[in-house]
Amino acid sequence: MKLELRQVTKSFGSRNVLSGLDLQVHAGEVVSFIGSSGSGKTTLLRCVNLLEPIDDGAVLLDGDEISKIGRDPNPIRRRIGIVFQSFNLFPHMSVQRNITLALTQVLGKPADEAHQIAKSLLNRFGLVEKIDSYPDQLSGGQQQRVAIVRALAMNPEVLLLDEITSALDPELVGEVLDVVRELKGSGITMLIATHEMNFAQEISDRVCFLDGGRVAEQGHPKQLFSSPNDERTRQFLRRVNF
């Protein structure tokens, strides 16, 4: 089992967001999370790479409990990349530096090797001519693709994608989703929070519907989208017109 969540509980003040959530993800699997706004998709992903400390339960990576309090999160975060809804590129750094910063500072790679990694990844995703640009000189779609490249450069085993197209104009969504399509099958494990039902259906090996702080229903995308078992899933899908 690549990743396992056991009875994960997380509250913000009195607001209970995750309440005893269980989840198992195999290596190389692509799992999408759907659910209404506020159902805890973002929180779930942030708990996985320890940006958000959990109140109770456990998160396991390759059987190793990474959520133990007092554990150094940095070596774990190297293995779990995340891409945010709002890109979060470093605005004062060029595209190249955005990508090479962690390569040199965290992995200790020499500058020219880091540069090569950045260049070949940018090339792979059609961004190599932007290598010396700054984030504010790029379109939203390009920024998000750079953010994906930045996470990929660390060669993570697990990639978390948090509504990576929600902040984009509709015509820019496609180019970002193409990147994710290309990644599927490369062996990387992906957890995707999304409002794009079509995309979730197409890309996922499994879809999880979050409700009440847990995975209320999960299954193969075909099954879950065409004949959901849970009444709440049915209501949700009706509400988003799917």
């Binding site: 913000f12 942030r46 790479n49 320890l50 940006l51 958000e52 400390p53 999160p73 940095n74 070596p75 975060r77 190297r78 990349g81 995340i82 945010f84 709002s86 979060n88 590129l89 470093f90 605005p91 004062h92 910063l101 962690a102 500072q105 965290v106 992995l107 930045r150 996470a151 660390m154």
Partner: protein
């Protein structure tokens, strides 16, 4: 001339001290909690008393304890007073800059495996410093004004050594008392303001990243 000399040597010292204080104050390492408390107390005390009073207390007070030349110069200690007070003022400018960098930048940096220190150095500080250049310039303008006060210490000192009105200069009690009264008023004020600001920030921003 003297003004310019004091200004040129104290400005880098002020900026260095201010950065150090701001970084210490913004650190999130639980182990550094005592350091944070100390820095907050220091900044409150330095900002709680008017600069001119510090110049007087340190500029005349420290040489008054009987140091040897050249360490008994009120000019030297007046400049030290400037560095200590302005360091505290400008630390708060830097801190505002650090706070103004959105939490998501820290989240992005930490999610790549960078440590707290690396995040501060490569991601937060460069953005913070760019943003605080205008208010920093303001403070440096008022520093020039206060440098003039320090350069006045020289002539006053000459009068003092000439024995004119010696008692008045030697008696620090009223000045210390004034400083304490200032602190009694300003510290509760700054603490309350800070608390309210922090509460507001907690309400409006994302979770602070460990």
């Amino acid at each position: 001339m003297l003004d310019i000399k004091i200004f040129t040597w104290s400005t880098p010292a002020i900026i260095a001290l201010a950065l150090l204080l701001a970084i210490a104050r913004s650190s999130r390492n639980p182990a550094l909690f005592p350091v944070r408390i100390f820095v907050i107390a220091y900044i409150d005390i330095m900002r709680g008393v008017p600069v001119i009073l510090w110049i007087y207390l340190i500029g005349f007070g420290v040489p008054g304890v009987g140091l040897e030349r050249p360490f008994n110069s009120p000019l030297l200690w007046g400049s030290v007073a400037l560095v200590l007070t302005y360091g505290a003022y400008i630390a708060e400018v830097f801190r505002a800059g650090i706070d103004s960098v959105h939490e998501s930048q820290r989240a992005a940096s930490r999610s790549l495996g960078l440590s707290n220190t690396q995040t501060m150095r490569f991601v937060i500080l460069p953005q913070a410093i760019r943003r605080v250049v205008p208010p920093l310039m303001n403070d440096l303008v008022s520093l020039q004004k206060d440098v003039a006060l320090v350069s006045l210490i020289g002539p006053i000192e000459i009068l003092r050594q000439a024995g004119i009105d010696k008692a008045k200069f030697a008696n620090f009690t009223p000045y210390v008392a004034a400083a304490i009264i200032f602190l009694l008023i300003t510290i509760p004020l700054t603490r309350t303001t800070d608390y309210l600001l922090a509460r507001e920030r907690r309400r409006t921003s994302a979770t602070r990243v460990r």
